[in-house]
Amino acid sequence: MRKQKFQGTKINPKRFHKSQIRYILIIMPIALFMLLPLVYIFNHAFKPLEELFYYPPRFFVEQPTLGNFVSLFQVTGSSGIPMSRYLFNSIIVTGLVLFASVLISTMAGYALSKLNFKMKKTINEINTIALMFVGIAVMIPRYLIIEKLGLIDNFFVHVLPYLAVPVGLFLVKQFIDQIPNELIDASRIDGATEWQIYHKIILPLIKPAIATIVILSFQTVWNSADTSTTYINNDVLKTFAFYMNTLTANSNGVAGQGMAAAASLIMFLPNLIIFILMQSKVMDTMAHSGIK
């Protein structure tokens, strides 16, 4: 009998086939390991006090309660500032960063992809090198510069350092590269200004890339406690992530654990929800993410 030629299961199959089971069997345990801590946080956050004290500890909550969330909102920090103040700060900071970083990186991305100017190639190359930039490596000079600029204890120190994200610009630029030049040339002939082209043509076409920067920036800013710890002394200007940090750092008592878990859940859920809502757009952007 003639041996049949090898036919793979095909990448990106449209529907389920039993040959896929072996991959599922390998991925499942890993996925379970990834999921376990998150399931744990979720259960822990809804545990009433007596369940937190159970020995041996139980993984799943038996009588879920919102008690931890209630006490989290009632508690005020040692400085007498209510939690809502921190939450408010975080929302404002995150909103500002998202708006400004989308504006800044899409504008730069448009110019670096579609406009001609002398520094274009150099800037693109520098930005590719900057993808390798590890922020915490230069925490000390960064601190000195922020101090020199008088940004210590200034609300904008939460915003400004997060506006230039090389990865964000890189993804946006790659995405704009896919847009045909003819489209832009046609609009120029029709008399559109560069700003109109950017605003009316480019922005609507690169929504997936915008969604991606939104997610990346959101993750960094919303989760960042470092800015408050390092650059802010005035408690009124600190953020929610910082507050969560102090809670969890002092949560050696079992009762504190429930609150800390509730706080972690509040920190984590917005990230997850935004990602689920935008995941198809992110995948669309990532398809163009390659460094050539």
Binding site: T9, Q20, A108, L131, V134, M139, T248, M286
Partner: protein
């Protein structure tokens, strides 16, 4: 924004659409990014390089001392040589290349699955990278708690594997391993998504052609078709893996709650920089360590570029 709009409009109205005009507009478009990029990325790097050649205690002005800091790091810093370098290397090699290979294999296996189950599994695998240091702190500190209420201790005690609870996070033997596990857990991030998207977009005809040319199994298919087709994504993923590895490397202090970590068990170069900068105020010395770290990251990345970059560069 309105201001910028009108400014651009005036610019356009004044001159006819010459090349010079487009230059000016282009610079206006890039300048906000360039300014932020310079202040918070370029200048700190330059400042780090400059400070690394000085003695600077933040009170008096920096004094140039040539290569003094570097010589001290290499000859006098016992902690650096005995703990920081071996720890950093062990951590970086397992989390960097190890995590990278793992995320590629996961992405590759996910690409073999039907859309719905793939999306769910990809979401689960990606979700830990959405957590922050804050979330991880609580989470892992309870799981690895040192008394018998800790989940891991409780499970191991019940199974009879250990007889008394282990103080995981203060332990010289376990801290680094725990750091590696935790970082790997949260390392399936942007690079993982990029590779998954890349694999899903490989032209199906390439595979058909491959079968005709005599590809015999899935492994050959991966090596000869998939990987060469997604080289750019592989490179992006590699750079993200390297950067992610070093950016997350402060985790030891977050887990153990102290800098330096107990018996330097989880002391990595990032913690060493922080310790010298913010605890001992030896800014010049810390800056020299920063430069060394940036060089390490750069060398790792160059290697990735060699491996996956296009040849014409």
């Amino acid at each position: 924004m309105i201001l910028l709009n009108s400014l651009l409009y005036r610019l356009k109205a004044k001159k006819s659409r010459g090349l010079k005009d487009q230059h000016t507009i282009a610079y206006l478009f890039v300048s906000p990014y360039l300014i932020m990029f310079s202040i918070f990325i370029v200048i700190p790097v330059i400042a780090a390089i400059y400070l690394s050649f000085t003695y600077f205690d933040t009170v008096r002005a920096p004094i140039l001392i040539g290569f003094g800091n570097y010589i001290n790091i290499l000859t006098n810093d016992d902690v650096f040589m005995q703990y920081v370098i071996p720890n950093t290397l062990k951590y970086a090699i397992i989390v960097g290349p190890g995590g990278y290979i793992l995320s590629f294999l996961l992405a590759w296996m996910l690409a073999q699955l039907a859309p719905r189950i793939r999306t769910v599994l990809a979401l689960i695998i990606y979700s830990p990278s959405l957590t922050s240091g804050v979330t991880m702190g609580v989470l892992w500190r309870v799981i690895f708690a040192g008394d018998n209420t800790g989940y891991l201790n409780s499970v191991l005690l019940n199974l009879g594997i250990i007889v008394e609870p282990i103080i995981w996070l203060q332990s010289q033997d376990f801290l680094l391993t725990i750091m590696i596990v935790v970082t790997l857990w949260s390392s399936m991030g942007v690079g993982f998504l990029a590779m998954l998207a890349g694999i899903l977009n490989v032209n199906q005809e390439l595979y058909e052609a491959g079968y005709i040319d005599g590809i015999k199994n899935k492994f050959q298919e991966m090596i000869y078709i998939t990987i060469p087709s997604i080289k750019p994504q592989m490179l992006f993923g590699a750079v993200m893996a390297i950067v992610g590895t070093f950016s997350a490397s402060g985790i030891g202090v977050a887990l153990s709650g102290s800098n330096p970590t107990p018996q330097y068990a989880g002391q990595l170069i990032v913690n060493h920089i922080e310790y010298y900068g913010f605890y001992k105020y030896e800014m010049g010395y810390a800056a020299a360590l920063s430069v060394i770290l940036l060089l390490i990251v750069y060398l790792f990345s160059r290697f990735a570029f060699k491996l996956f970059g296009s040849k014409d560069e």
